[in-house]
């Protein structure tokens, strides 16, 4: 078995040596020039050979939106479904086929607005699906309406005087749903994106990876805080298990510390090492505090917020099935039909 045990079942053929090219489909990619999706697609195609899974055992499922065109460009099995429902489709697929590795590509509208309910339940059930949520804080495919992650007061075509609804934080949402793996990365940080994809892929259960992504046409610069060299240096907080929450330039290092149950930013040199907040991926409560951090008051965390073990939905159901069969033998319709109260005429 490969390192991707969650995907390929026992007895699955070892994956051949692939290159990025093996995962490129023959379809022309149709995103706008400069779209962050290009970088994500390329990074995913590049990371796929390292997963060690035969490509026929990989399925990409998507809903609707710019990001959801993704499966067409991957030379794996793929299903471009309907708006918001990809998590439910993936759940049914996993239940039918626990031997295939399922990736789910979605966006902030698809995954958190029309499909919010399904996202809740796929995470709660901990279905073994790798969820890649491209967050560009805007509706791109429908040409520029605000999304559930758009900031309050966002002026768009559908909100000429500014949006009235408060945004949702995808990481906090996922943690609140009981997700067993929650991480964030950025479309313009390819090495980090690659590392996060691999971590998500290796997780047993539902993995939720938010990918901050730029829409150059309708929401250019939404993540400038992590794109521009200066602000990135100021605000990017790399989460690493066992390492303290430190960020900022070397000559002005800052630390996020816990002040009671509240996060607080201090100058690193002002606090003793013992007062630093050491990141622990197993500490879900801490992850919930980290999820809420954002510039300018706080740094912007990227990396794995939380990775814990949890019961996997389809494992439980399929184990029940195995037990039922081993206890009483496979079903026999002829026997069932004549069981119980019957009478002869």
């Amino acid at each position: 078995m490969s390192s991707m045990g969650a995907g390929a079942g026992p007895g699955a053929a070892a994956a051949p040596k692939y290159t990025k090219k093996d995962f490129e489909s023959d379809q022309d990619v149709r995103w706008c020039p400069g779209c962050g999706d290009y970088a994500i697609l390329s990074a995913i195609q590049k990371s796929m050979p390292d997963l060690g899974v035969p490509k026929e055992n990989i399925v990409f499922i998507s809903g609707i939106g710019c990001s959801s065109r993704f499966p067409y460009y991957m030379n794996t099995y793929g299903f471009h479904t309907i708006h918001g429902r990809a998590p439910a489709i993936a759940t049914g697929l996993r239940l039918a086929r626990p031997d295939v590795k399922v990736f789910l590509v979605t966006g902030d509208g698809d995954g958190l607005s029309i499909g919010g309910n399904h996202m809740l339940h796929v995470l709660r059930r901990n279905v073994d699906v790798k969820i890649l949520l491209f967050n560009n804080r805007i509706y791109g495919l429908t040409k520029g309406q605000y999304s559930p992650t758009s900031e309050l007061g966002k002026v768009t075509k559908s909100t000429p005087m500014g949006s009235a609804d408060r945004p949702i934080n995808p990481l906090a949402f996922a943690l609140g749903c009981g997700a067993t793996f929650v991480a964030r990365t950025v479309d313009r940080n390819i090495p980090h994106l690659d590392a996060m994809l691999k971590r998500a892929a290796q997780h047993k259960g539902a993995a939720f990876l938010e990918i901050l992504q730029n829409c150059p046409v309708y929401n250019e610069g939404a993540w400038n805080v992590l794109y521009e060299k200066d602000s990135k240096l100021q605000f990017e907080l790399r989460l690493e298990h066992g390492k303290p929450l430190l960020f900022g330039p070397q000559d002005d290092r800052r630390a996020v510390i816990m002040d009671g149950v509240v996060a607080k930013v201090v100058k690193a040199k002002d606090v003793p090492e013992s007062a630093l907040w050491v990141h622990d991926e197993k500490n879900v409560n801490a992850a919930k505090l980290i999820a809420d951090l954002f510039a300018p008051e706080f740094p912007v965390p990227i990396g794995v917020l939380s990775a814990i073990e949890g019961t996997v939905y389809e494992d439980v159901l399929l184990e029940q099935e195995r037990r039922a069969i081993s206890d009483r033998g496979p079903g026999d319709i002829a026997k069932l039909l004549t069981s119980g109260d019957t009478w002869k005429i």
């Binding site: 489909s25 379809q27 035969p54 490509k55 026929e56 055992n57 399925v59 499922i61 609707i64 499966p71 067409y72 991957m74 030379n75 794996t76 099995y77 793929g78 299903f79 471009h80 479904t81 309907i82 429902r85 998590p87 439910a88 489709i89 993936a90 759940t91 049914g92 697929l93 996993r94 239940l95 039918a96 086929r97 031997d99 295939v100 309910n117 399904h118 809740l120 339940h121 159901l317 399929l318 029940q320 099935e321 039922a324 069969i325 009483r328 033998g329 496979p330 079903g331 026999d332 319709i333 002829a334 069932l336 039909l337 004549t338 119980g340 109260d341 019957t342 009478w343 002869k344 005429i345």
Partner: protein, 622 residues
């Protein structure tokens, strides 16, 4: 009252009947459903043909004594074929005033009316809206054969030395009614005694209490002077074989089990609890050994899309619901049409629109099944005629869905779902073969390459090397499956998807005609009205009328011989529990002047009223 029981001084007359219609009615807490089910089992033992109609409130624990809290169970049993639970009652058991008020109008003049007198107190009379006790009105006893029995008193008396509290003792009074009615219609008590033994194996006192009360009811009929005669109903002449009682929802579930076994594929059943479809999910969840994987989804949309995901994976995806849930599934069904994946959708129809009448029956979702989705979105639509037929219909749905790579909608309804009939157990090896093939050959593969006979595209399981491909809801080029916005291709694909559904007509056997092949009137039905229509038509035939009936199990596509058959009769009548849906389809499809007979009361159609409609139509001079 107990003192009035005296040993029978004269032998009671026993009269033979061809059929009888009995309804047990009482408070939701009075155990009327159980009483009816047990009486049904006893009648099955007696060899009668049977049709049942359970009728209960949507409220789980409706306030005691109220009109809307009344629960009833009706059955017709006979020595001849029984097609319906019956129109008018021969016998009504009214356990409280509310039950009397709700159901009395259905009792035939001169019918047996049995009431539990101790429930007719001031409080219950008030709740039922009676200013005075209706039992004191002499007109009641003049119009019906009224039997006032203190069931509560006699029930308590029978258990007086048992260590149970008053409430526990009172709870058994439904079995007093059962014992009494069993005596009246000469039913064997053995099946109920066996049931008591099994059900209360761990509680000997409760078992003893129920046994005593049941026998007390029976003995009361035997000994009390008030019952002058009682009845026998000979065993019906039914095809020989092994029988069991079958409800529609269980039959749908078991049809899927048979399909799973024969196709050697797992079935993923996605559902969100909804009345009256929930018991399919519950039944399937008990049969994991058949590799039935049930998903209680977060909503109706997730239920259908989980099923579609399973079909994409190479399992049989099935979802089940009732009308409101089917409305929510519409977009998902469209995806299955577009992706050309097998999908089975059960719609156990109920009264609507919106929440409507959740526990009552209706067949008003035919248009929804045929047209209730955006754009040109044809699916196969089939409907069972009886509870037992649900078994064959579910199996057939899976077979067609997998063979044609198409969604199949099954239209059952609340009447079929909960109603039961004696069902001749089939030999599963006689079911049509289910040869599901997955494509593995790489040479010449395209995702939308079609089988010339069925137009089905190849079904490929993810995990098959070399056949990696993408499908989705966007229009695609035929054969290659590549995204295509080409106008001519879209027109071609719309026609191809429709033609694929049309070709299912090759699966439909010749339509069986009940009556002359040509004549004055043809009655056309579908779904659960089969029994009422057949009974009415056979009566009209016995009257010497030139009437025939056909019953459509296939609603899309329609049987290929239907157009020809319709033209062989001067008139066409289409009875439905809706405002006229099939009749519109027939008029549009065949340009025939078909006439509807429509009642939308949340109840099955009565065969009497269909009989009247037949006479009326035949009476019209041209």
């Amino acid at each position: 009252m107990a003192k009035s029981v005296a040993p029978a001084t004269a032998t009671k007359t026993r009269r033979e009947l061809e059929r009888a219609v009995v309804r047990f009615a009482g408070d939701s807490g009075d155990g009327m459903q159980l009483t009816g089910e047990q009486f049904t089992t006893e009648s099955a033992w007696a060899g009668n043909d049977i049709a049942t109609l359970p009728n209960f409130p949507a409220e789980i624990r409706a306030p005691a004594g109220t009109l809307f809290g009344v629960s009833s169970f009706q059955l017709q049993f006979g020595s001849q074929r029984v097609y319906t639970p019956g129109d008018r009652l021969d016998c009504l058991v009214a356990m409280n005033p509310a039950a009397l008020k709700v159901h009395l109008a259905d009792l035939k003049p001169g019918g047996l009316l049995i009431v539990n007198t101790s429930a007719y107190d001031k409080r219950n009379l008030d709740k039922a809206g009676y200013a005075s006790n209706p039992l004191d009105d002499p007109a009641l006893a003049e119009r019906y054969r009224l039997h006032k029995v203190d069931m509560t008193g006699l029930t308590l008396e029978a258990q007086k030395d048992l260590p149970l509290n008053a409430k526990e003792k009172d709870r058994t009074k439904n079995f007093f009614a059962l014992g009494l009615v069993s005596w009246i219609y000469t039913r064997p008590l053995e099946p109920t005694l066996e049931w008591i033994g099994k059900k209360f194996a761990k509680n000997k006192d409760v078992a003893e209490a129920n046994t005593r009360v049941l026998k007390a009811g029976h003995a009361f009929g035997e000994t009390a002077e008030i019952f002058g005669e009682h009845y026998t109903i000979e065993a019906a002449e039914m095809p020989p074989g092994l029988y069991r009682a079958m409800t529609g929802n269980r039959a749908l579930a078991w049809g899927l089990l048979a399909a799973a076994e024969r196709s050697k594929l797992p079935i993923v059943y996605g559902a969100y609890p909804i009345t009256p479809a929930s018991s399919i999910l519950e039944e399937l969840a008990m049969h994991k050994r058949f590799r039935i994987r049930t998903v209680q989804a977060e909503d109706e949309i997730a239920a259908v899309t989980a099923a579609i995901g399973a079909s994409f994976g190479g399992a049989i995806g099935v979802t089940g619901s009732s009308g409101p849930g089917i409305a929510l599934k519409g977009e998902g069904i469209g995806l299955a049409v577009m992706a050309e994946l097998p999908l089975v959708v059960f719609n156990v129809q109920r009264g609507g629109p919106s929440t409507g009448l959740p526990t009552k029956t209706e067949q008003a979702d035919l248009m929804q099944a045929l047209y209730g989705r955006n754009s040109e979105c044809p699916v196969v639509v089939i409907a069972p005629a009886t509870p037992g037929d649900c078994f064959y219909i579910a199996y057939e749905a899976v077979r067609i869905a997998a063979k044609y790579m198409v969604p199949v909608m099954v239209l059952s309804d609340g009447f079929l779902a909960n109603g039961s009939e004696p069902w001749l157990i089939p030999d599963p090896s006689t079911l049509p073969p289910m040869n599901v093939e997955f494509r593995t050959e790489q040479e010449g593969f395209f995702p939308y390459l079609r089988d010339p006979a069925t137009l089905a595209r190849p079904w490929v399981r993810p995990g098959t090397p070399g056949l990696e491909h993408r499908i989705g809801g966007i229009e695609k080029q035929d054969v290659t499956g590549n995204i295509s916005y080409d106008p001519e291709n879209h027109d071609h694909m719309v026609r191809t998807r429709a033609e694929k559904v049309r070709r299912v007509a090759q699966e439909i056997p010749p339509t069986s005609i009940n009556g002359p092949a040509t004549g004055d009137l043809l009655v056309v039905g579908w779904g659960s009205t089969y029994g009422s229509i057949t009974a009415a038509v056979e009566r009209a035939q016995a009257d010497g009328k030139s009437v025939a009936s056909i019953h459509l199990r296939h609603l899309n596509p329609l049987p290929p011989d239907l157009g020809h058959i319709l033209r062989e009769y001067r008139k066409v009548l289409v009875p439905e529990i809706n405002s006229g849906q099939l009749v519109r389809v027939l008029r549009a499809e065949y340009l025939v002047d078909a006439v509807g007979f429509n009642r939308v009361r949340g109840l099955p159609l009565m065969s009497d009223e269909i009989h009247d409609a037949i006479n009326q139509l035949l009476g019209e001079r041209q």
